[in-house]
Symmetry: C2
Subunit: 313 residues, 2 copies
Amino acid sequence: MMDEFELIAHLTLSLNTNDSTVVGAGDDCALIDLGLPDRWLLFKTDAVVEGIHFMKTAAPEKIGHKALGRCLSDVAAMAGTPTHALITLALPADFDSGFLERIYAGINTLAKRHGVAIVGGETTINPERMLISASVLGTVTRGKSPLRSGAKAGDAIFVTGELGGSLSGKHLDFEPRLSEARWLAENFSIHAMMDISDGLAGDLRHILKASKVGAELLSDAIPISRAAKLAARADSSAKLPLLAALTDGEDFELLFTAAGRDGVPLLEAWKKQFPELRLSCIGRITAEPGVTIRDKKGVRPLSAHGYVHFQKP
Amino acid sequence: MMDEFELIAHLTLSLNTNDSTVVGAGDDCALIDLGLPDRWLLFKTDAVVEGIHFMKTAAPEKIGHKALGRCLSDVAAMAGTPTHALITLALPADFDSGFLERIYAGINTLAKRHGVAIVGGETTINPERMLISASVLGTVTRGKSPLRSGAKAGDAIFVTGELGGSLSGKHLDFEPRLSEARWLAENFSIHAMMDISDGLAGDLRHILKASKVGAELLSDAIPISRAAKLAARADSSAKLPLLAALTDGEDFELLFTAAGRDGVPLLEAWKKQFPELRLSCIGRITAEPGVTIRDKKGVRPLSAHGYVHFQKP
């Protein structure tokens, strides 16, 4: 039985392509060459569904923010600049127009901040629940998008911000790391990059698989959010903070690799450029496949979902 | 109380825009100038929902065809060439992978025929029913997209194909009029164009409103599909065929206007170019607002939904 990722990978393998497609399905955005002398286009779509990606009781502005923000985070992962977006709202027939206005207000505020024009808004009926689909167009300097497939053995692995516990608020309130990603690609040779939406443990594997490499993570270096720590303290049946940081998902931070020798200069330059956003070097890319994690007790394999090898002490 | 169109028009009025946006919300596609010397970009999204736009029992290939085809029909309405598409499938957790493969097969066959690369396929959960959202990118010769706002008093109004009764099959099986629209824009001065998705009576009003004009239709000239005629014959409570042609919707034919003096040469050139696809001149654009329809009994106003002024004889 194929899981969702395998099925989609299988289906998208046989999809029609054409000469202007640089990268199709499988990276954070599609990469398209329509003949602009200095730029390629980025093209991405994503959807959020009530009861799955947000609760009905969430502030409508935040729902709108998340719907667009997820796509912008994917544009960031390609070191691009989003330019235009389309929104499709599918919602129960008895929708409240004030609620809808507030969703659009959330979309619009984020769009404005990043210079994105909202060039269309469709609505349709989805009787049982709200679904918002966003599509984003952007551009990137020709040849300058770090792909998932570019990681090399010996690379240092970095992550922005702090991970885990996103469900307690950040998943509706994150800021796509657009300027940070562009600065990285302009100033350093970034080998591979993606955004963390499914959790570090799972998303890292997308880079490793595409790059045909492995990784060793440093347990102590993984930046754990205050939210994940608080959740573990409040509820003894909650995930341990490290596990939350590895698996919670919806962090919408950047995960990237660069040559090991660039590690220190990169961290130092980052501190000057973005003093308020933490950047962590969390491990290194290895030639051997698989993911291991190193802590005081030694090196252990990390399962695909991060769960198996962690227990409460 | 605003209806859906008014609400969306209201919401989209205040959406963020930027310098590269030529036309935002409100036409068949957004029109974008990213600096390509000879072309503008077209950008469009649309969604189909189970139980609304297709029945669960429909052939999955046809569902896929419709999901992509609706967007391609919008690109046709701008006289453009679609280049890339993204698909989002939202579906119940217990979906059947064979069904999904057949949906993608329908999408892919249509994409291949029109040279469209499918550059991404997302899936998410929509527990109660399937929803497919497609986003399409395309190009058009700079300045050559006929907009809804270009109709002028004295223009002849044209429609391709035959209208009405789409629900009996065509709505899942239509062919986007891409080559026809490009030929029209290359060979004639097309003042306004759109595709018919909500029915001739309703869609024509979008052109009239955007162009600040009215229209007089010729009852006998409106091309009525065989499906609409058969439906009326089979069921005495069904719509009269003319009403069906005016209001059924999902015809995905082209509705356009050109200067009255171009009418005859256009019809003659069309016959040679597309001998198998009917083209009808169905009336003319008037300076006075509103829509009237002329038949043997005289000229009568046509209501917004086409319904009011028609009765069985």
